[in-house]
Amino acid sequence: MSGVPIGIVRFPGTNCDQDVFDAVAAIDGARPVWLWHKETALGGVRGIVLAGGFAYGDYLRAGAIARFSPIMDRVIAFARSGGPVLGICNGFQILTEAGLLPGALMRNAGLSFVCREQWLRVDSTDTPFTRHFRPRQLVRFPVAHGEGNYVADDETLDRLEGEGRVVFRYVDEAGEATPLANPNGSARNIAGIADERGNVVGLMPHPDRAMSLLVGSQDGREVFRGLLEAAA
């Protein structure tokens, strides 16, 4: 099989691995490759996705244990060298635990798991994953998580906003970031953020579940198309 190899990390308990695999496979020119958490080499992949799910059952804290899997040292080095890394849901939690993204994801403010269709506003198109969107475009990705309440101190939040690193925000149908549109209590309705260079992005909603009109939205395709281009 040819195509640009995109690595999908499988931790014990990851459960959106196949969804991400299918999403990557759906993009012409991309080739999904499994990366088992016990591996210590990346096997030449050009981009990496940390998929959603419940690595180690989310026991203790979401992402806390997975962050120490052997492969994570390589992922961290890859990210620091500028390689594109996308963390979706549990993957976002792992990226914050690993210190690749600032802040933390706490238990949802409503204390319940929440699964719903969600409108998002693309607040930064300066990342490889969002460059195909228009600034402030509304997209629909489902959310499904119990610990997605993004927190950081005010200084960090101000910096993220000032540097244009808030990538996605939870909004209503009209594009307004209202409290009602916020599914989990995240600070400033933040749904996804980028690191300083923009090559590492984490978000709670699932672009991998928005790949076909059969399931209600195909807005997620652009995210994976961007990933492929950055990896190529």
Binding site: N15, D19, S112, C115
Partner: protein
């Protein structure tokens, strides 16, 4: 204490305390050719219990149709399977976890989900969906809210963590379940035909392994009726009967099991459910016609000092029994290690037809496999129709009393009754998208619709059952549960393929309960035949009683159907000017229905009559209209009749839309037409431009129908000549009925 337990003499008191009748004991002695020891007695009491042995139900269950060209695996294995074309089969089963959930709702529900998942992936199928069918007392009771909140959380947390979407289900709140909630979970898995694995311990000389979690003292009372007095007080005290679920380990077990089946690293796999090691090992041997020998000392334990009795009877979760040839062992061990799961050799398959248990090489049990599995006593009882039925049938309220009910106030009441109201508060806590197959999840339709990746088709699936109907009319009620499931499938364009069931009843030793059971089974069997939907798996849960009495007899039906081409799915939507077409006759039947129960607070009359021929024909035409895109959506008419169905249809339309419904003239008022729950009926949304097409098709189909109304643009729900309400207001009641109660009222354990 250990020794004392094992050497406890088997006296008549001890036998009785194990729930074994004197004649049954005599039969055991005959089968063994000697008296059983204490451990063996415990094993018999489990295997011959209703839970494992189906001693009261088996004979009746044989009335279910269970064959058909589509059946790939009928009853008898961990789950049934039907063909869905293109080389794939869908494996499915439903199971109850009622009593554990009453004691500890979170863990009870969670481990219920865990158990049914294992039943499916044991067959080699990857679980692709869950549904949950729940019954609770009235939500105004703080303890009921506690149970409800934690059951929902338990179902959600377990399925969410394992990564299987919960795509549908049902919930009823009724005082009949106050002391005994029902928690039934259904799981579906997908498999290629050639990968189907059967749970048999074939090949004498092959080794037997435990894969997964270690064994503790969990749930030792679970499957049997052990009376605690016969065990010393401190053993009972220190013995936790609550099982704790570990969905993370389940996920590892799922992946490891599928991998070892796919790679051919095992001969047979069986999950350890009720009665743990005992039933899994004896059933695997029985299916293969072999014997089996196990040394309990080799079973990894979580706790020190466990007796053979405890190891054999433990219901610790997340464990599998695996049989493998010597040449498969390295591959098996490699897979276990990859997934960080312990895998331990504990015994061997033999050719002597004996179930032998050793402890450190010393024999503890020696029982012919057949005695445990095939010789379970079977009881068929002759019972009379219980007298309460005539009483219920004769106590319909006066027509005047019904005529005095304000129909729109009644509609408001029905829409805000938790049983009828939106279940969003529940299913938002369930991941219903993971695996990206969910075309229609919970909410929009009566059935879920899931794509079958690798084929052009989609699966429709629904769970249904109305205990009040069964209570008032056991036979009709049983048939109606099947009919409603088939209707729900028809609304998404799917044709029934097969059925699983969970039969929740009271104590079958009581005449009335046995009568209800036997009649409901007959009703189900008749309806399944009519729909060509064989029963391929199921579960019986008896003894659902509390000090307040027995629950409503509540069979729940899980039905799976096929939509061959996913492009023919209903697209939803609708706009002003569209027609609302009622298929079936106008309603009149209020007996045993929601208007009486929710508005007047009474249970009276007969359940609606069942016309299976009409059900079949109407379902067929609805499927055709949906698949052809003539109707953009369809709702079956069930709880609360046409009025509730119309309102729910309206809530599915774009925000500004309203509806107008015309009702036939009727003497006693519009109540029958609005709230009647007569069967074989649907309300379809047909775009204006396809109205003539629909008319042509319906007229040639010899099906009663009428244009019952239309979609409007004024945002109101109007019943011509009766009255109207703003849609917004009714929708708010319907949407918030459950969440308001759960968010503003406190629970109490």
């Amino acid at each position: 204490m250990t020794v004392a337990l094992r050497d406890t003499p088997v006296t008549p008191d001890v036998v009785a305390a194990h729930g074994i009748r004197a004649d049954e004991y005599d039969r055991i002695v005959e089968l063994l050719g000697r008296e059983p020891n204490f451990t063996e007695l415990g094993v018999f009491s489990l295997m011959w219990s209703e839970h494992c042995g189906y001693k009261y139900s088996r004979a009746l269950l044989s009335e279910f149709p269970s064959t058909g060209p589509q059946v790939v695996q009928g009853p008898g294995e961990n789950a049934g399977a039907v063909d869905v074309g293109h080389g794939f089969a869908v494996v499915f089963k439903m199971e109850s976890h009622n009593h554990p959930s009453a004691v500890e709702p979170y863990q009870g529900a969670a481990t219920g989900v865990g158990g049914i998942l294992r039943d499916v992936f044991t067959m080699g199928a990857r679980p692709i969906a869950m549904l949950d069918s729940l019954r609770f007392g009235a939500l105004d009771d703080p303890h009921v809210r506690y149970l409800f909140r934690h059951v929902v959380r338990g179902v959600g947390d377990y399925g969410n963590c394992v990564g299987v979407p919960t795509v549908g289900g049902e919930i009823v709140f009724d005082d009949a379940y106050a002391g005994n909630p029902l928690v039934n979970a259904m799981c579906l898995g997908l498999i290629r035909h050639e990968d189907l694995m059967r749970a048999s311990a074939a090949g004498p000389g092959n080794a037997v392994y435990v894969l997964g979690a270690s064994t503790g003292r969990d749930g030792i009372h679970g499957a049997s009726k052990l009376a605690s007095t016969e065990l010393s007080a401190d053993t009972v005290e220190s013995r936790p009967t609550v099982q704790i679920g570990d969905p993370f380990t389940e996920k590892l077990l799922l992946e490891a099991t599928l991998e070892l089946i796919e790679s051919g690293a095992a001969v047979g796999v069986q999950d350890m459910g009720a009665a743990g090691l005992t039933s899994s090992s004896s059933e695997m041997a029985a299916r293969a016609g072999t014997g089996i020998e196990i040394d309990v000392a080799l079973v990894p334990r979580r706790e020190p000092g466990m007796t053979p009795y405890e190891v054999l009877l433990s219901e610790s979760q997340e464990r599998m029994l695996v049989v493998a040839r010597p040449d498969q062992e390295p591959a098996l061990m490699a897979i276990a290690e990859k997934w960080d799961l312990p895998c331990t050799r504990i015994g061997i398959v033999t050719d002597d037809d004996l179930w032998r248990v050793l402890e450190d090489g010393e024999e503890v049990c020696r029982i012919p496999v057949a005695a445990l599995v095939d010789e379970v006593p079977r009881y068929v009882r002759e019972v009379q129709e219980p007298s309460y039925l005539a009483e219920v049938h004769g106590s319909m309220p006066d027509p005047d009393e019904i005529a005095r009910i304000d129909p729109l106030a009644a509609l408001e009441g029905l829409l805000s009754a938790p049983t009828i109201a939106s279940k969003r508060w529940v299913w938002e806590q369930y991941d219903h998208h993971v695996q990206t197959n969910t075309i229609l999840g919970p909410g929009p339709a009566g059935a879920a619709l899931l794509s079958i990746k690798g084929t052009p088709g989609a699966l429709g699936v629904s769970t249904d059952g109305n205990g009040r109907y069964v209570y008032c009319d056991p036979r009709r009620g049983g048939a109606l549960a099947v009919a409603e499931a088939a209707r729900n499938l028809a609304t998404v364009g799917a044709r029934p393929l097969g059925v699983t069931d969970c039969l929740n009843f009271g104590n079958p030793e009581k005449d009335a309960v046995y009568f209800q059971f036997a009649e409901a089974v007959r009703g189900i069997a008749e309806a399944c035949r009519a729909f060509d939907a064989p029963v391929v798996s199921g579960n019986v849960s008896f003894y659902n009683e509390s000090p307040k009495g027995a629950i409503y007899p509540t069979p729940t039906i899980g039905m799976v159907g096929l939509l061959e081409d996913v492009e023919a799915r209903p697209r939803g939507g609708g706009s002003p000017g569209d027609s609302l077409i009622l298929i079936g006759r106008d309603g009149a039947h209020l007996g045993a229905g929601s208007l009486l129960a929710e508005v007047l607070g009474i249970v009276a009359g007969r359940a609606p009559a069942v016309d299976l021929d009409a059900e079949r024909r109407h379902a067929e035409i609805v499927r055709e209209l949906v698949r052809g895109g003539v109707a953009v959506s369809a709702q079956d008419v069930s709880d609360g009749g046409l009025a509730v169905t119309a309102a729910e249809t309206c809530f599915g339309l774009p925000a500004a839309c309203g509806i107008e419904i015309e009702l036939p003239e009727a003497e006693g008022g519009p109540h029958g037409a609005m709230f009647g729950e007569d069967g074989a009926r649907y309300l379809l949304v047909v775009p204006a431009e396809r109205r003539d097409l629909a008319r042509q098709r319906l007229d040639s189909g010899a099906v009663p129908w009428r244009e019952a109304g239309r979609v409007t643009s004024d945002g109101r729900i109007r019943f011509r000549d009766v009255g109207e309400r703003p849609r917004e207001e009714l929708e708010r009641r319907w949407r918030n009925a459950i969440s308001d109660r759960m968010e503003t009222m406190e629970d109490e354990r």
